[in-house]
Amino acid sequence: MFDHDISAQLIEQVNQAITDKHCLYIHGARSKQFYGNPIEMEHRLDVSPHSGIVDYQPSELVVTVRAGTKLIELEKLLIAEGQILPFEPPIHTENSTIGGVVAAGLSGPRRPFSGAVRDHILGVEMINGRGEVVRFGGQVMKNVAGYDISRLMAGSLGSLGVLLNISIKLIPAPKQEVTLAIEANSQQAMTLFNQWRPTPLPISASCFYEDCLYIRLSGGVKAVESFSQRIDGDILPSAEGFWQAIRNQKHEFFDTLDKPLWRLSLPPATPALRRFESDTLIEWNGAQYWLYSNAPTNIIRDIASKHGGHATLYIGDRPGVNYFHPLPSVSIMIQKRLKQNLDPHGIFSSGRLYKDF
């Protein structure tokens, strides 16, 4: 694969920002520009040319990749070796990068079953707030030397440093996958999730949309065939396309433009939220709700909080509203200090996560 190392240029630009005291907007393909609070974008740091595979030995189940590497190219390489990214991240455009997905901390349909982005980050090489190249973690499965700064980078939206290379733990691609469609209302769907949960049913994705529950079974050939016969549902013929659409947020549900799109993250086994019966798509066995709603922000967030979860304004324009769920004051204070200490010159994407930092 094409290998392009532009770290020297990126370091120079970071140092320039420190000298000039301006804030950098770090980006890859800019396919997630909609995500997070709007920030100053005058000075851009484009990481997308920094791309290629640094190291990939399939027997290690680890790939080390430059942050600007396109997700579709990375996945093509992995699948040729029978491996996949366990967190099945959304690929918003064909140019979307691995660095962008890690920075945004976004995981897809496989998340409740195989883990989130941060769970699979083994190490990073990054440019820190002083313009220095630093490495944390590594390529091995277990590593407790020093604080886990590499996983802290997941979801930090470019506010703590510039990701250069990322080492990611992989899993073997399932030998067999079958998707079943089952007619159900939201409560019946939740009941089914809870019935299946203690069983060895090898679910690797679930989606509830318009009175239909879709579940994907993954694993060995015998197991998937045997379990799919035990469930009263129809085999979905175009399953791969269906899950790609869900994963990449290209499913017809995501076409609505006239209302803000919320993402509710709730504890698994939360009962169906009756208030949000329509305009919803439910994933992660009920732990992730996609919701189009004009309801006031505080009402949506109160419902999420009441159930032990949180609500993110995923796409939408609500002036004055924080895109991410408010944090308790002790947490805000600590995160603010963390940001100040790791980015002492305030040059990285300040305000995108929370206005205070």
């Binding site: 197991a223 698994p268 200490n341």
Partner: protein, 488 residues
């Protein structure tokens, strides 16, 4: 009784306002058990030991220590192997031993809310009536506490498939250095803001005091099979490990023992291990009956092709337990054949296993100290046990051999600690693994949580001064300076 120092009396009087007499230990005899943790080569006496049993009391203790600038070392069951709970002579030990309640097992959410002093194994025991269990299982699971597990990001035999402590913890409640209450993570699958849960897990008591933990529970597997495989060469066994993982199978556990460890474990536990082979692998497969039966065929094929001299599948649950018992008692078993041993914890990429094991063999000869190997092969997490006799003055030699092994791990792209933590023990090796800038970044994290450095000061992250004195070479990109010079 010794005359308490002035500061000691002041603290006793402050703490007595809200703690029972039994919750404050100051007598020399009472303090002695707290002088060290599982790494008994290092000992110090703290000013006091406090044993609160409410979160409010922990908050008050922290506020008082903050006011008087008293260092606080948190302690769970004291089973740690890196000296993480070694006392500070001017500080107190904050024992979480009395936080020993399982608050709630939620069989709908598959979670358990527990206090930090709850023992690892007792979570699974309590959850078993619901068909659930807590996956991470360090070998000390009978004794070690969940608070300590979180502080060290403990692993165990089954983390190859089920992850480390980090992957099995959802939410942690902590008391900050100032005495405030902080919650990180949540019962949902993600949390807004920075991922403080990742930062806290494995932070070795340096950032805040853990007072409550919400752990994830898993349904017990339908089917479990254990294979014991013998090899006449350790190199062949090492290659078999990579071959199994490359085939697309993730065993629940994949452990290796070398000849010395096998012999020690067999004479101790009578597990039924062959004592005339160079290495054995224990490979556990779990999941649905269909998946396990499919996988067991594939694994057997790989092992036969890969040069195994004997393959034995445990026929009953009792036989499985017996084979595991040998593995889990390997450390005490080695303790019987040598006056002292020193346990290392480096992790390396799997494909380096054969090279590193052979290099360790050379080092063992060079230092004239035997090494027994019993470790998590699937994770590449080594646990060389260096056998020595402290009475013969061999400790220093053993430590040097250990340091050489850790340098070797870094050299091949690994790390100095996979699951035991840095603690007091591996501070010097941190100077080899990390650059000045990286160590500064760690200090920046520490000061965000604990600006006055009262929480476990002097552990886990070395000062730059210490690194300068140690004169360590930072190994850049796994390459030692002058890498062309043979080192063995």
């Amino acid at each position: 009784m010794e005359e308490p120092t002035k500061i000691q009396s002041k603290l006793i009087s402050k703490f007595s306002e809200f703690l029972d007499e039994e919750a404050i230990l100051s007598d020399a005899d009472e303090l002695r058990p707290y002088e060290c943790d599982g790494l008994s080569a290092y000992r110090k006496t703290p000013l006091l030991v406090v044993l609160p049993c409410t979160i409010e009391a922990v908050q008050k203790i922290m506020a008082i220590c903050m006011r008087f600038g008293i260092p606080v070392v948190a302690r769970g069951a004291g089973t740690g192997l890196s000296g993480g709970a070694l006392p500070h002579e001017q500080g107190i030990i904050l024992s979480l031993a009395r936080f020993d309640k399982i608050i709630d097992i939620n069989a709908d959410h598959f979670t358990a809310r527990v206090q930090p002093g709850v023992r690892n194994l007792s979570i699974s025991t309590a959850a078993s009536s619901y068909g659930l269990y807590y996956a991470p299982d360090p070998s000390s699971q009978i004794a070690c506490s969940i608070g300590g597990n979180v502080a060290e990001n403990s692993g165990g035999v089954h983390c190859l498939k089920y992850g480390l402590t980090l992957h099995n913890v959802m939410e942690i409640t902590l008391v900050t250095a100032k005495g405030e209450l902080l919650t990180v993570g949540s019962p949902a699958l993600d949390t807004p803001g920075y991922d403080l849960l990742s930062l806290m897990t494995g932070s070795e008591g340096m950032l805040a005091i853990i007072v409550e933990v919400l752990v994830k529970l898993l349904p017990q597997a339908d089917e479990k099979q254990l294979i014991m495989v013998s090899f006449d060469k350790i190199e062949t066994a090492s290659h078999a490990v990579s071959a199994i993982i490359s085939s697309g199978i993730i065993p629940a556990g994949l452990e290796m023992m070398d000849r010395l460890a096998i012999q020690a474990a067999e004479s101790f536990a009578h597990a039924g291990y062959p004592t005339d082979v160079d290495a054995i692998l224990l490979c556990e497969l779990d999941g649905s009956k269909e998946d396990v039966s499919e996988q067991i065929e594939i694994v057997q094929r790989i092992l036969t092709k890969g040069g195994a001299v004997d393959i034995r599948i445990a026929k009953t649950a009792e036989e499985q337990a017996k084979l595991w018992q040998g593995r889990k008692s390997a450390f005490p078993a080695v303790g019987r054949i040598s006056p002292d041993y020193y346990c290392m914890d480096g992790t390396i990429p799997r494909h380096q296993l054969a090279h590193v094991l052979e290099s360790m063999n050379q080092l063992s000869k060079q230092y004239d100290l035997p090494i027994a190997n019993v470790f998590h092969a699937g994770d590449g997490n080594l646990h060389p046990l260096i056998l020595y006799d402290a009475n013969k003055g061999e400790l220093e030699k053993a430590e040097k051999l250990g340091a050489d092994i850790l340098s070797l791990c870094i050299e091949v792209g690994g790390t100095i600690t996979g699951e035991h933590g840095v603690g007091h023990e591996k501070l010097d090796q941190m100077c080899i693994q990390f650059s000045t800038q990286e160590i500064q970044q760690f200090h920046a994290i520490k000061s965000s949580f604990d600006p006055h450095e009262l929480l476990n000061p002097g552990k886990a992250i070395p000062t730059l001064h210490r690194c300068a004195e140690f004169g360590a070479m930072h190994v850049h990109h796994g390459k030692l300076p002058h890498s062309d010079i043979p080192r063995f």
